[in-house]
C-alpha cells in the first residue's frame, strides 16, 4: 500500500462511478424517491467564463474609468404597453415565490431592487403586501397554477410575466413540499396546510401560441393596455419559442437558461433538461432580429448570472437586461460560512447547501418556519442586495468602458472572443486568436 502523508495513492476512483454517483445510487436505493433539491445545475456547461472581452487598444478607443459616463438604464415594454418599465440598471430580480422564500426575504429583494432602481418579481404563490410595499417596480407572474392570482394584484403590478417555463425545469411544473405549506402559504394558495403542493406544468386556459395571443389580449384588456407583458420561457427550442412569443404579442421575452435556479425540482430535471444560457442568447437574438424586433421587444436573460462580467457578456450578445435569482439569495447570505455549524447540523455545509425545498434554511431565506425566518433582517438583506446589484453594474460599466462604450447596451458580439471551440460555436463569437466561429456560414 503506497501512502504519502497518510493518503492512499494506489486507490483509483472511477470516472463513471465517482463518489457522487455512488452516494446517489445508495440514496435512491434507500429512499425510493428521486432527489428533489433547490439551487440550479451543478454540472459544468459552457458559460460566460468561456468568453473574454477584447479591450480597446490601437484600433479602439476606451473610455476613462471613474470619469466618463457609461449609461446603464433600460426601458422594458416599449412595444405595446402604455407604461413601460424604466429601470436604472439592466439587472433585475427574477421571480421567486413567497412560499419558497420567507416573507422577510421577499421584502429584502424588493428593498434592494428599489434602492438601485430596478425591478423584482413575484413568483408562484401570489403577491405579498410586504413585497408590493417595498418594491417600487414589481413584475407579477401569471403561472400555470394561478396560486393567489387576482385582478387587483394584476392592476397593482407594474408588469405582468406569463411564465411558460423556467430554465431549471422547462416542461415541468413545480412542487412545494408540505413542510413549507404554512397557514399563510396555504391560505394564499387555497390549499390545505401541510400537503405537497403541485404547480401545474401547463396553463389551465390556453394551449399553444395562438391561444397565448388571446390570453395576452385578455391581460391587456383587464389592465387597460397599461402594463408591459413579459413571456418567460426555459431555454430549449429558444429560436422558435421566442418567435412564437413575439407573434403572440409579448412586449418582453425572458429566456432562462438551464443554470437557472429553482426552489424545489428533481435533480434529474435540473441537470438534464434545457440548454445553457450561452447558446440561448444568440438563438433568441436571431429570432428577434429576423422578425425585425430586436430592441423593439426587449430580451431579458437569466440563468447563471453571477458577476458584472456575466452581465456585460449577456448584454454584448444582445440581451437588453439580465435577471438574477440564485445569486440574489447568496448575496442575502445563503450558503454563508457564518452559518457553517448550523449547516452541519442539517447534514450540509456552507457552499454546498441546496436543500431549499426542505424549509430548514438556517439563514431564514428558503423557509416558512417563523423562528428561522425571524433570523433574517429584511433591511440588512435589502442593503446587501443593493450593494451586490451596484457591484454588478460597476463591473459591467468597467468592461464596457474598456471596450470604448458609453452605454452598456453598446457592447456587441464583436467585443467578444471565446476560449473554447464549444463556447465559440454556442455564443457565435470567434475562437480567441482566430476568426473562426464554428458552425457559422463561411
Amino acid at each position: 500500500m503506497t501512502t504519502v502523508d497518510g493518503q492512499l495513492w494506489n486507490l483509483r476512483e472511477s470516472y463513471l462511478y465517482d463518489r457522487i454517483v455512488i452516494a446517489e445510487i445508495h440514496r435512491a436505493a434507500r429512499e425510493g424517491i428521486y432527489d428533489i433539491r433547490g439551487f440550479g445545475a451543478k454540472r459544468r456547461v459552457p458559460h460566460f467564463d468561456d468568453l473574454l472581452f477584447l479591450g480597446a487598444s490601437v484600433s479602439r478607443y476606451p473610455l476613462e474609468g471613474y470619469r466618463e459616463r457609461c449609461g446603464t438604464d433600460v426601458t422594458l415594454g416599449t412595444r405595446f404597453a402604455r407604461t413601460p418599465l424604466e429601470l436604472k440598471i439592466p439587472v433585475t430580480i427574477a421571480g421567486m415565490s413567497f412560499g419558497a422564500l420567507s416573507a422577510p426575504a421577499k421584502e429584502a429583494l424588493g428593498r434592494g431592487a428599489t434602492e438601485v432602481g430596478t425591478s423584482t418579481t413575484t413568483g408562484d404563490g401570489g403577491m405579498t403586501p410586504e413585497e408590493r410595499e417595498h418594491s417600487k417596480t414589481l413584475v407579477y407572474q401569471l403561472l400555470p397554477s394561478r396560486y393567489g392570482m387576482n385582478p387587483d394584484d394584476l392592476r397593482r403590478a407594474d408588469a405582468i410575466e406569463v411564465v411558460v417555463g423556467q430554465g431549471a425545469k422547462p416542461g415541468g411544473g413545480g412542487m412545494l413540499l408540505g413542510h413549507k405549506i404554512s397557514d399563510r402559504v396555504a391560505a394564499m394558495r387555497d390549499l390545505p396546510k401541510g400537503i405537497d403542493q403541485r404547480s401545474a406544468c401547463r396553463h389551465p386556459d390556453w394551449t399553444g401560441p395562438d391561444d397565448l395571443e388571446i390570453k395576452i389580449q385578455e391581460l391587456r384588456e383587464i389592465t387597460d393596455w397599461e402594463k408591459p407583458i413579459f413571456v418567460k420561457v426555459g431555454a430549449t427550442r429558444t429560436y422558435y419559442d421566442v418567435q412564437l412569443a413575439v407573434k403572440a404579442g409579448a412586449d418582453v421575452i425572458v429566456v432562462d437558461g438551464m443554470q437557472g435556479g429553482t426552489a424545489a425540482t428533481q435533480d434529474v430535471f435540473i441537470e438534464h433538461v434545457g440548454i445553457p444560457t450561452l447558446p440561448a442568447i444568440p438563438l433568441a437574438v436571431q429570432a428577434l432580429t429576423e422578425l425585425g424586433m430586436h430592441r423593439q421587444v426587449q430580451l431579458i436573460v437569466s440563468g447563471g448570472i453571477r458577476t458584472g462580467a456575466d452581465v456585460a457578456k449577456a448584454l454584448a450578445l444582445g440581451a437588453d437586461a439580465v435577471s438574477i435569482g440564485t445569486a440574489a439569495l447568496i448575496a442575502m447570505g445563503d450558503n454563508s460560512p457564518e452559518y457553517e455549524d448550523q449547516y452541519r447540523q442539517i447534514g450540509s455545509s456552507a457552499g454546498f447547501y441546496d436543500d431549499w425545498q426542505a424549509g430548514r434554511d438556517p439563514v431564514g431565506i428558503s423557509t416558512q418556519d417563523d423562528e428561522l425566518a425571524a433570523r433574517f433582517d429584511p433591511a440588512l438583506g435589502g442593503r446587501r442586495i443593493a450593494n451586490y446589484l451596484r457591484v454588478l453594474t460597476l463591473e459591467a460599466q468597467t468592461l464596457a468602458r474598456a471596450c470604448g462604450k458609453s452605454h452598456v447596451h453598446n457592447l456587441e458580439p464583436e467585443d467578444l472572443v471565446a476560449l473554447t471551440v464549444e463556447a465559440a460555436a454556442m455564443a457565435r463569437v470567434p475562437l480567441a486568436g482566430t476568426d473562426w466561429i464554428p458552425g457559422a456560414a463561411s
Binding site: 389551465p204 385578455e218 384588456e221
Partner: protein, 238 residues
C-alpha cells in the same frame, strides 16, 4: 357629465361599430367610482375575445350572441349573461359575481375561479373547473374530460354526464354529477351523498335557477386524499 340619476336604464353597445377596447374601458371606469349605467347590453359580439373581462363593479352586462375566449375573465361583482355560446376560459379566475351562459361553453370554463357563480345552461367542454379555487359552477348539461383537474376548493355541479378523468388530482373541491361519469381521475373517489350535501346541492341549483332537477339524483365525488403527500408506494398512481 352624466350622473347616475340621468343615466339611461340600459346602455347598448354595438360591437359591430364600437371597438372592444372602448367597451371594456367604459366598464372598467365604473370601478373607479365614475357614475354611469348599471345595466349594459352588448350586441353583435360576433365571437369577440375578452368581452367584459376584468370588471369590478356591481353592474349587469347582457351579451346578445356568441362570445369568444375569456368572456368575463377575472370578474368581480358583476353579473354577465351571455345569450349564446362562449369560447375557452369563460369566467376564468372569477373572484365574485355571476356569469350565466345560456348556450354551451368551450374548454376551461371557470378555470382557476376563486369565487362567484358560473352557470352554463348547455354543455361545458373539457377541463371545466380546472384548478378551481373557490368558484361554484353549475352545468345543466354535460362536461368534458379532465373537468375539475387539480380542483382545490369550490363546488362543481353537473346535471348531465362527466367525461374521462373527472377530478384528477383533486384537492378539497366538491363534485356532484347527476348522470354517468366516464372515469374518475387519480385520487378522485365517489363519496356518500349525505343530507348536508343535498342541502348544498339544493342551494346551488336554486342560485343557478334550475328547479326541475332532484338533488337526490346526484352522486358526490371528492378527494381520497391519498396523494396529498408523496409516497413512493403511490408512484403507479402518478
Amino acid at each position: 357629465m352624466t350622473t347616475a340619476s340621468e343615466a339611461p336604464p340600459v346602455e347598448t353597445v354595438d360591437l359591430a361599430v364600437t371597438p372592444l377596447r372602448e367597451l371594456n374601458q367604459r366598464l372598467h371606469d365604473l370601478q373607479k367610482g365614475t357614475a354611469g349605467p348599471r345595466h349594459w347590453r352588448v350586441v353583435n359580439p360576433n365571437g369577440a375575445h375578452a368581452i367584459a373581462c376584468g370588471l369590478d363593479a356591481s353592474v349587469e352586462v347582457e351579451i346578445e350572441g356568441h362570445a369568444g375566449y375569456y368572456c368575463a375573465g377575472m370578474n368581480k361583482q358583476a353579473t354577465v349573461r351571455v345569450r349564446g355560446n362562449v369560447g375557452t376560459g369563460a369566467a376564468e379566475n372569477m373572484m365574485s359575481g355571476q356569469v350565466i351562459v345560456d348556450g354551451s361553453a368551450s374548454q376551461s370554463a371557470g378555470a382557476t375561479g376563486r369565487g362567484g357563480l358560473l352557470v352554463v345552461h348547455g354543455d361545458a367542454s373539457a377541463r371545466c373547473g380546472i384548478s378551481m379555487k373557490g368558484i361554484d359552477i353549475v352545468v345543466r348539461g354535460s362536461v368534458g374530460h379532465m373537468s375539475a383537474f387539480m380542483a382545490q376548493t369550490g363546488r362543481l355541479v353537473v346535471c348531465g354526464d362527466a367525461g374521462e378523468a373527472l377530478g384528477d388530482s383533486i384537492y378539497e373541491a366538491h363534485l356532484y354529477v347527476r348522470g354517468s361519469v366516464a372515469g374518475l381521475g387519480s385520487d378522485c373517489v365517489e363519496k356518500e351523498l349525505r343530507q348536508n350535501h343535498r342541502a348544498e346541492l339544493t342551494e346551488l341549483l336554486d342560485r343557478a335557477g334550475i328547479d326541475d332537477v332532484d338533488p337526490a339524483e346526484f352522486r358526490r365525488y371528492g378527494s381520497a386524499r391519498q396523494l396529498y403527500n408523496f409516497k413512493v408506494d403511490n408512484a403507479a398512481a402518478y
